[in-house]
């Protein structure tokens, strides 16, 4: 009996002590972790809406592929939207932020928020050479070409990593779709 009891009691004490410590650390870091995520999103939203003097998060109805939306305001007028969209890439979800101007009806920039693509290949979409192509793109379905994009709706893929480039472009198209279906009516 003693052989069973002593290990059981020791194990119980060790496990309880660990759980108490973890509970404490978890509740202490809950707020900073949420703040980190929020800050990262807001920085990206400001970057894709450079002409907005302030941004505000809006309530969002369920829409496939869209996670968050910010409106960009200038003197109380809605001048643009920053739309957070995602799409599955080569090795997981890619989250991006897309800025759309209400006035010019163009894309004002995109940023890659999170991705798990192959380092050195798919991950190159985080370079400006790639995402800069979306600057001033028209609000119509965009498509990826291998190289030599000439139409306004064509995007060059990067280092042949077409799956990643297509995924990013599809996510941008999702954001454009949200804007034309819902964003316009929020104005």
């Amino acid at each position: 009996m003693k052989f069973v009891l002593k290990p059981a009691i020791v194990l119980f004490i060790v496990a309880s002590a660990t759980v108490i410590l973890l509970t404490f650390v978890h509740s202490a870091t809950l707020e900073p972790i949420a703040a980190q995520a929020r800050r990262m999103r807001e920085i990206a939203a400001i970057e894709v809406l450079p002409f907005a003097s302030m941004i505000e998060e809006v309530e969002l109805d369920d829409f496939d592929g869209i996670t968050n939306v910010f409106v960009g305001l200038n003197d109380g007028l809605v001048i643009g939207y920053a739309i957070e969209a995602y799409q599955l890439g080569y090795s997981g979800r890619i989250d991006i932020m897309v800025g759309i101007s209400v006035e010019s009806e163009q894309i004002t920039g995109i940023r890659i928020l999170r991705h798990t693509e192959t380092p050195g290949l798919g991950s190159l979409v985080t370079r400006e050479v790639f995402y800069g192509q979306f600057y001033e793109a028209p609000l119509m379905p965009l498509r990826v070409v291998r190289s030599g994009a000439d139409g306004a709706d064509e995007i060059n893929s990067i280092t042949g990593a077409t799956i990643t480039a297509v995924a990013v472009t599809e996510a941008v198209n999702r954001a454009i779709e949200w804007y034309s279906l819902i964003g316009g009516s929020l104005r």
């Binding site: 194990l11 060790v14 660990t18 650390v25 978890h26 972790i33 980190q36 380092p119 050195g120 290949l121």
Partner: protein
């Protein structure tokens, strides 16, 4: 107990990466850049020190039948704390790229090697010093491999671009095979030097 000797033992004589060749999984996976390598190394060192100290402190009251279970609980606890703290206070980009390898420190074999062979037989302070030496040795190994891979693979060091022409980057160096090539070459160089000096190679 000579503490200086313990630290030197971890960094040089028994270096976990180049001599013991342990914990290759995180080693090969996260060394795509110098910053990732150092963060991973220091994270492992922190867990190693805390866990070795704690386990050494309770070593006399833990019945030997549940020794491993208790070690796993203590290590997992420290790893979870580390993960929460890193998520809360480090730049999100670093957390993203280290991803699954932070929780996987739980099954890091350097940890269990030090716990079983050192911390369960020595006093808490000596165990912590031994853990510090081993952790720094691991960090050094990660850092060297990280710098080499980042330079050849993405033409940068610490994220500062040195070669901007992407055509001259050896992409294979930041992919999995590059890690094996780098580690193999480094082990070869280090052991040929050790042999020449009259030491024992692997």
């Amino acid at each position: 107990m000579n503490y200086f000797k313990l630290i030197k033992n971890g960094i040089v004589n028994q270096n976990p990466v180049f001599v013991q060749v342990m914990s290759l999984c995180p080693l090969l996976a996260v060394t795509t850049s110098a910053v990732n390598a150092i963060t991973m190394g220091l994270a492992t060192t922190a867990v190693l020190i805390c866990a070795c100290f704690a386990i050494s402190a309770v070593r006399k009251v833990i019945p030997s039948e549940i020794r491993i279970v208790v070690s796993v609980i203590i290590v997992a606890g420290f790893v979870t704390i580390l993960q929460l703290v890193m998520e809360a206070y480090l730049p999100p980009a670093i957390n993203e790229s280290l991803g699954i390898f932070i929780p996987l420190i739980v099954v890091n074999c350097i940890l269990f090697a030090r716990i079983e062979s050192f911390a369960s037989k020595n006093k808490p302070f000596a165990s912590a010093v031994d853990a510090l030496g081993m952790g720094l040795g691991f960090t050094l190994g990660l850092f060297v491999i990280g710098v080499i891979r980042e330079f050849f693979g993405s033409g940068a060091v610490f994220g500062i671009e040195l070669i901007s022409d992407t055509n001259s980057h050896m992409v294979i160096m930041v992919l999995a095979p590059g890690a094996f090539f780098t580690l193999g070459a480094l082990i070869m160089i280090i052991h040929s030097i050790r042999r020449r000096r009259g030491g024992v190679g692997v």
